[in-house]
């Protein structure tokens, strides 16, 4: 659908937002790229989807998307979860852009809670939906305080918290939204991706943008930028591992969802990244549970 046709069918501007709002978001994105990991405040708008359901990611996507983009939207790694479907439809309707479920075909990927398994390339942009952009929020509730901590790079409170975890549990007890440090300066929330995905952010060739609509913040990690998951020398960062493989495609290197099969608690494990799983099966890979 052409831009004009999209406008005609919805009565709204291309990609919903008016041009003044797009300019405001675009300015924020450039500052976010110039200061990697710093949360740029922006005048987030009320979108036709609820706050907490991806409005930050949607506004970032709406400000950058063009007619020649091919958009992929995932939630929990899957293209067919209801919220991913809803957001993909929103852009198909308001921007008339092509959509895809194939990671390699997408120029723009909006995600909630996962980084795709297939490595991203320099022609791609990953837009994260972020509920709570402030990594220090659970340690200090006040914005005025956390802003000052970032300003002074005063991150002692975070290191104390992680150290207490180790003292109490023998490990850092954070499984998702695991804090990272970007380019040796800002501590940043990677959004609630499992820590399994953190290493994919490090020196990623794709531009990574983060939008928090309700909290009104945009931040970014430029391509090839070091992203270090916080740890200690004697307790290095490590990711989740499974003893199982994907029941459908047999993958042993992907993040697995646990699916409960029946009321006796039998369970199977399948790739969370539905495209990765489908591509592997198309290439002939099979898991033990396939055809069950």
């Amino acid at each position: 659908m052409s831009e004009a046709a999209a406008v005609q069918s919805t009565g709204y501007n291309f990609a919903y937002l008016d041009e003044q709002t797009k300019r405001m978001i675009r300015r924020a994105i450039l500052k976010a790229i110039a200061v990697p990991g710093y949360q740029v405040p922006f005048a987030s708008r009320e979108m036709p989807l609820p706050f907490g359901w991806g409005t930050g990611g949607i506004q970032v996507t709406a400000a950058i998307i063009g007619a020649d983009d091919r958009l992929k939207v995932i939630d929990q790694g899957a293209d067919d979860t209801t919220n991913a479907v809803s957001i993909r439809r929103f852009f198909a309707r308001t921007a008339g852009v092509a959509t895809t479920t194939r990671t390699t075909d997408a120029t723009l990927i909006q995600t909630r809670h996962r980084v795709p398994e297939t490595p991203l390339g320099p022609h791609q942009i990953l837009v994260y939906q972020v509920p709570i952009p402030e990594p220090l929020r659970w340690l200090e509730a006040r914005e005025a305080e956390t802003r000052r901590m970032h300003g002074l790079a005063d991150y002692g409170v975070m290191h104390v918290k992680l150290y207490e975890d180790i003292a109490q549990h023998g490990r850092i007890a954070t499984g998702y939204d695991y804090p990272v440090q970007v380019g040796q300066r800002y501590i940043m929330a990677p959004s609630p991706i499992p820590k399994f995905d953190n290493p994919k952010m490090d020196r990623c060739p794709a531009l990574q943008l983060f939008g928090a609509g309700r909290e009104k913040r945009i931040y970014a990690v430029p391509p090839h930028t070091p992203v270090k998951s916080l740890d200690f020398e004697d307790h290095p960062f490590s990711v989740e591992t499974w003893s199982k493989r994907c029941s459908l495609c047999g993958a042993g290197d992907s993040y697995l969802d646990e699916v409960i099969m029946d009321d006796t608690g039998r369970r199977m494990f399948v790739c969370s990244d539905t495209d990765y799983c489908a591509e592997r099966r198309a290439a002939g890979h099979r898991g033990e549970g396939d055809g069950a």
Binding site: R23, R27, I33, V40, A67, L152, R203
Partner: protein, 201 residues
């Protein structure tokens, strides 16, 4: 009626404002995300002669009534009238009040010290300055490294005061504060965000 007369002499802005701004932005964003990358303007644009198309496109894409602009007086009234009409932006004289600055050429960059660099709590409240230059090439000049660059990148900027690189060394020391620079040459753009180190090739 008065408006009509003044508009008759005015050069047109983007032909298709929505897609032209989007395309310009995407290329500019690419330039910011990958310093050293030289991007070509996609949109057709014929601004007043003192303004290069690439510089005009940056402002048409980003500036509006919310962003005070500082214009190099040497750009002249026609350029100011063009931007005032198409962006609706207000112009300011004190450098430190400007969100955007435009330098007519790179021969004298001493004014760069006057632009806002943000503060520790809000490093984003800093200026973005467009400097018009004679040419941009990726096969010589200074060696760049920093966020967005895989190892290192080369950038040759023709017609740029050598003092600029001294300025940028100081600008980078301010990180996360500092101004962000965009070089415009004809229909080409390259960006130099504050955190980029530049060393003699």
């Amino acid at each position: 009626m008065i408006d009509k007369t003044s508009r008759d002499g005015l050069a047109p802005g983007f032909r298709s404002p929505v897609p032209d701004a989007q395309q310009t932005f995407r290329r500019l964003m690419d330039a910011f995300a990958r310093p050293g990358t030289i991007v070509d303007l996609a949109a057709e644009l014929a601004p007043p002669t003192s303004l290069m198309p690439a510089a005009a496109a940056v402002l048409l894409t980003l500036a509006d009534l919310d962003t005070p602009v500082w214009l190099d007086p040497r750009l002249g009234g026609e350029a100011a009238g063009y931007l005032a009409f198409h962006c609706g932006c207000a112009f300011v004289e004190p450098l430190d009040q400007a969100t955007f600055g435009v330098l007519v050429d790179g021969t004298d960059v001493r004014c760069l010290d006057g632009f806002a660099v943000g503060d520790a709590d809000f490093p984003d409240r800093s200026a973005t300055v467009v400097i018009q230059v004679d040419g941009l090439r990726a096969d010589g000049g200074v060696r760049l490294n920093g966020p967005g660059i895989d190892g290192q990148a080369m950038l040759q900027v023709d017609g740029l005061d050598a003092r600029f690189w001294t300025f940028q060394a100081g600008n980078r020391m301010l990180f996360p504060l500092g101004i962000d620079v965009v070089f415009a040459s004809g229909r080409q753009l390259a960006a130099l965000p504050r955190g980029i180190a530049a060393m003699a090739g």
